[in-house]
Amino acid sequence: MTTASKLNRLTPYMFLAPAVLLLAVALLYPIGYMVYASFLDWRPSQYISEAEFVGFRNYVNLWNDEAFLESFGVTLKFAAVVVTLEMLLGVGLALLLDRNLRGLAALRTIFILPMMIAPIVVGLMWRYMYHPTVGIFNRTLKSWGLEPIPWLSDGTWSFIAVVIADVWQWTPFIFILSLAALQSLPQSALEAAELDGATGWQKIWHIKLPLMMPVLIVALLLRLIDAFKVLEVVLVMTNGGPGLSTEILSLRIFRTAQEFQELGVAAAMSNYLLILLMLLTTIMFVYNKAVENRAARLRAAAEEA
């Protein structure tokens, strides 16, 4: 190979190099900093260079920290519940509204309104609606002669309250993605199914859902990542309480850094969360590959038909 052709081959990489380097530094430096901090006993009143190196102590201690474990459990429960509800409701609504109705565009806009509201505002809004005496829910219950519900002052109810607020805000996200996926399905497949006499359910189950699956998995993944990191709504609505019933992990991390001033421990917690999310993402990507292949086969079959 001549030098010129060698150089030719390298040219694109050389052009890319600065951007790649910049991206690597911008992405990796903060993460590297966090990983490094997690090995330190570091208070915010110290320079990082003054902090004591403690190896894996922060990581190990967390497994004996009841509050951390409880909060980890709350986070898993929260993410599982909200994402399941949002997927069911979002996809269900999309299937229901996937038709050429008049005014659908306006309806769609209304549906995605909650997503556009800042989470802190959503938190405040729901907090006032859940207010024990002047909130809309308890006032309504009372006017019907029913017992008021201790929305935010009981562990179980406050968990439910936070779930409702999150589902309210993020179901539209799943809805809008599902609707887009539905509307880009190959019509030929559906028509073929109709000719074969498939019922509505059969169409949903055997054609629509499998074809939508790649999009749904990405939506699920995005929601799952977000649900694990939710902070503002819970911070404003319950501040983790009562007890630790709604103390999700990001709130615990925030408090560990802010209130307890243990930056190293907070970094270790963040890394646990990061590892968990990376694992989840990898699993989903592998699964997605399989699902995509299946969807592609279905599509191809539909096009042949």
Binding site: R43, S45, E66, H131, T238, G241, R255
Partner: protein
């Protein structure tokens, strides 16, 4: 080029200014204590808090009198803490005078970030002989200003002064005079009476809670519990840092809080200070025991439905008298630029004159003489009771140590479980004590055992 010219110009100006000042001083022309600092700017960081809102109204007077300019960053309390903590780690900070909340004393002093004030009070050119430090409220000075003595955070032969209380608070009992009169209820003087009245009110006055208290999970529930712990004879630690929060007094305090919340207004378990105060000012509870800082709001008819109907009494007595101490103090960061001018401002603001001026604008006095002032009592009739309450202000009602944030949060979430999940107080406090012991051990508090 332009930059270096600029720098030369600034340097020259500074040199000329310094030379002039030096000559002036040498000539003996500098008569007033402020002359040498005229034209300097003190940059301060203050919280958004009623006391400091009052301070802002008084600052122009200081500039008029001294020629020292003041620039203030006023931030919400949590933001203030975050910003100050970062500022203090810089080589050269932006602030010359810093307001800090009482827990921060432990962090800042331990990290050697606040000036020891002795060197300013020793300087005859700076220290005002008429300052009268004896008049400063002792409990506040001990709580907010002094560190290095007993237990590290209290005064004692080895302690020294790092800040001056400014915007400090204690607790009083606010009650509805009209409701108490209507039902012939006496103002509670003891804890037994307090708890009885707290549960009597909802029976005699439909829809009204007995006492509004903080109770939300975390810091708020912890604060509410500690408020009762000290007067009922308890402490979080003994003198050797062994947790004794789970002794008889601790359980009593937890039960007292539970009774108050159970007989309180609806939704009381989610209350922070703002919600509790709102419940009282909107007439849904008959009593409120918390910081004196809320009184001004209760008496403001535009915000409160109970203005003019509120009586104020001392924090009831348990086995001893002990009202809380908290709020803010001011100190000079070690990395400040204009430390001497900052000291002059601090001294002026906390002088008899400054303290009264701030109090007249609605601030919290730091001096006994201010509370005794006739003019102030005419404007704010509750001032005399507050002054009386301060005699019992307990500087040790909660520990001020670097590990406190974590222990405080644990007390608060555990108390919240007692209030909402029916967790047994003894069992709850045993858990807190065990975890606190571990935290203290890790932090090295048992090294000398």
């Amino acid at each position: 080029m332009l930059k270096s010219l600029n720098a030369t110009f600034v340097a020259t100006t500074m040199f000329v200014a310094t030379a002039t000042t030096t000559i002036a001083l040498a000539d003996g022309h500098a008569k007033g204590p402020y002359d040498a600092y005229k034209g300097q700017t003190v940059t301060a960081i203050f919280p958004a808090h009623p006391h400091y809102n009052a301070v802002m109204k008084v600052l122009p007077e200081f500039t008029k009198e001294t020629g020292i300019k003041v620039e203030v960053d006023q931030l919400q309390y949590l933001k203030l803490r975050e910003k100050s903590t970062l500022e203090l780690t810089k080589r050269q900070g932006d602030y010359d005078l810093m307001s800090y909340v009482v827990f921060s004393k432990a962090d800042y002093v331990f990290a050697d970030q606040l000036e020891n004030l002795a060197r300013f009070f020793m300087n005859p050119k700076l220290s005002d002989p008429k300052y009268d430090a004896d008049d400063l409220i002792d409990g506040y000075v001990q709580n907010i200003g002094v560190a290095g003595g007993k237990k590290g955070y209290l005064p004692g032969p080895t302690g020294s002064l790092f800040g001056i209380p400014f915007g400090s608070e204690t607790s009083v009992l606010a009650y509805r005079k009209d409701i108490f009169e209507k039902h012939g209820i006496e103002v509670p003087k003891t804890y037994d009476a307090l708890l009885k009245v707290a549960c009597q009110i909802p029976e005699v006055e439909k829809g009204m809670g007995g006492m509004a208290s903080r109770a939300a999970s975390g810091h708020q529930a912890s604060h509410a519990f500690l408020l009762h712990l000290a007067p009922l004879g308890g402490r979080v630690f003994d003198d050797e840092w062994n947790p004794i929060i789970n002794n008889e007094a601790g359980v009593k305090a937890a039960n007292a809080l539970k009774t108050i919340v159970d007989c309180g207004p609806e939704g009381a378990t989610t209350f922070g200070p703002a919600e509790a105060a709102a419940s009282f000012s909107q007439g849904t509870s008959a009593m409120f025991m918390d910081s004196i800082a809320f009184a001004a709001g209760f008496e403001d008819p535009s915000k409160s439905k109970v203005a003019g109907k509120v009586g104020y009494a001392l924090h009831p007595e348990g086995v001893r008298r002990g009202s809380q101490t908290g709020g803010f103090g001011v100190g000079i960061p070690r990395n400040a630029k204009n430390k001497e001018a900052a000291f002059l401002l601090m001294q002026w603001l906390t002088s008899k004159k400054g303290d009264l001026m701030v109090a007249m604008q609605g601030g919290n006095p730091s001096r006994f003489s201010t509370y005794e002032n006739a003019e102030l009592n005419a404007k704010y009739p509750y001032s005399a009771t507050f002054g009386e309450a301060l005699k019992f202000a307990d500087p040790d009602w909660r520990p001020i140590i670097p590990t406190w944030g974590k222990i405080n949060a644990d007390i608060g979430t555990t108390m919240s479980k007692v209030l909402t999940e029916g967790l047994d107080p003894q069992e709850a406090l045993d858990g807190v004590a065990e975890r606190a012991k571990k935290i203290m051990d890790e932090a090295g508090y048992y090294t000398w055992k």
